[in-house]
């Protein structure tokens, strides 16, 4: 197994100064004794979307609330859809890197989801969400307003619909691949995209 590039966190006990326990990483894989598999990851993101460090990626996509799992997009099903009260959409694909599919397909799959979302109108998106939720009266606007828990909605329903429609039309969504680490092949692919872009416009990525 390739070494994951994650540093081990330490557990400090305030009662024992100078002592720390190094936490051991538990690998995610096929459902075994640990119980952590891709489905578990998907359910975790759906139930606790705040586990995703979205503010470190694109602040404009916060606060994100869960909308649905298994959203039909094109011929595939998106693992998790999140949305913000400002009408921004976040598509989440959960992948375990030991899954062979993850090695080559995951980035292409994420791009496919982006393209699939761009092809939808607001009405088509809402219809797809209703199918995913099994609730034909589901209102995306009402749901996001209630889940966000803001004292007053930041947008009216008409403004929210316009914002979602515009973001769909212009393809402005956040595509997240969530896994238990990252694989060097994915890094190579991502590096290719970045270098392709670097030839046309100066990269301003600071990480």
């Amino acid at each position: 197994m390739k070494q994951l590039r994650q540093k081990a966190p330490l557990l400090l006990d305030p009662g024992r100064e100078g002592e720390a326990t190094v936490l051991k990483q538990i690998p995610l894989g096929k459902k075994d004794a640990s119980g952590y598999d891709e489905k578990w990851l998907q359910t975790l993101v759906a139930s606790q979307p705040q586990v995703l460090p979205i503010q470190d990626i694109e602040l404009a996509f916060t606060p994100a609330v869960f909308v649905c799992m298994e959203l039909p997009v094109g011929s595939n099903f998106l693992d998790v859809l999140l949305a913000t009260p400002q009408g921004k959409l976040i598509a989440v694909e959960c992948k375990l890197w030991r899954n062979p599919e993850a090695k080559r397909k995951v980035i292409a799959q994420a791009i496919d989801y982006g393209a699939g979302l761009q092809a939808l109108t607001y009405e088509q998106l809402q219809k797809a969400i209703q199918v995913a939720c099994g609730n034909h009266h589901f209102s995306l606007y009402q749901h996001v307003v209630e889940e966000a828990g803001e004292p007053e909605p930041s947008l009216t329903e008409a403004e929210f619909t316009d914002a979602v429609s515009k973001n769909l039309r212009t393809g402005r969504s956040l595509l997240l691949i969530v896994g238990d680490g990252y694989h060097e092949e994915a890094e190579t692919m991502s590096g290719f995209y970045s270098s392709t872009r670097a030839r046309t416009s100066r990269s301003r990525s600071w990480r």
Binding site: L4, R5, Q6, A8, P9, L11, T21, L23, K24, Q25, I26, L28, S34, Y36, L41, L44, V51, L52, P53, D56, I57, E58, L59, A60, F61, K88, I111, R172, L176, I177, V178, G179, D180, G181, Y182, A186, E187, S190, Y193, S194, T196, R197, R199, T200, S201, R202, S203, R204, S205, W206, R207
Partner: protein, 197 residues
């Protein structure tokens, strides 16, 4: 996004540690060329800088404070490309100059248009002095405030308050000259550091 799970061997408690190990900046369509020499992929020429939604919203906010600011600020910042000036938006717009291994933040612009100039620490004070002195000379009512560790630029007419982006945009030639001074100082310092290795 990586969600790593860790376990304490003593208590059995488990912790999820989220991180962002990898991130794309933008994706462009490429032209795939297959000929006798093999396969090559060339991206089409692009004239526009890729932006994020966070960045767009930041500039929209400035535009609401004073119309015309967003375009003027983008144009000014883009004109500093030759001085190795980059900018990045999170909650604020961070302007960064890079020379060799040296990185300095000459300005940090807030959503309301106010400009912080004191985001520099760790022995950068003398490096910044010529820049701040020149910048103070370029902006009417500005002066250099010095503390034991830092230098910053303030305005006399705002009770020692912060500069604004309109102070900079209204005095662009002088501000650019000050940034040229900063780049020269940084480049010299970076060269000295290389020579010293």
């Amino acid at each position: 996004v990586a969600l790593a799970i860790y376990e304490s061997s003593s208590t059995g408690q488990r912790v999820i540690v989220p991180s962002v190990p990898l991130q794309t900046t933008s994706i462009v369509r490429g032209i795939v060329r297959v000929d006798d020499s093999g396969i090559s992929i060339t991206a089409p020429p692009s004239t526009e800088r890729a932006t994020t939604l966070t960045e767009d919203e930041f500039f929209d906010g400035l535009e609401k404070v004073r119309p015309g600011t967003a375009a003027a600020l983008r144009t000014f910042l883009d004109s500093l490309d030759d001085l190795h000036v980059e900018y990045h938006v999170r909650k604020t717009l961070i302007v960064r100059m890079i020379a060799g291994d040296l990185k300095i933040l000459p300005f940090v612009i807030r959503p309301n248009g106010r400009v912080d100039t004191d985001y520099n620490y760790g022995g950068q004070k003398e490096l910044l002095r010529p820049f701040f002195e020149r910048l103070a000379g370029a902006i009417p009512g500005a002066y250099v405030r010095e503390t034991p560790k830092t230098l910053s630029l303030k305005r006399t007419d705002h009770n020692g308050g912060l500069l604004t982006i309109w102070d900079i945009l209204g005095n662009q030639p002088g501000c650019r000259a000050a940034l040229e001074t900063l780049y020269q100082t940084m480049a010299l310092s970076a060269d000295d550091e290389l020579d010293g290795r």
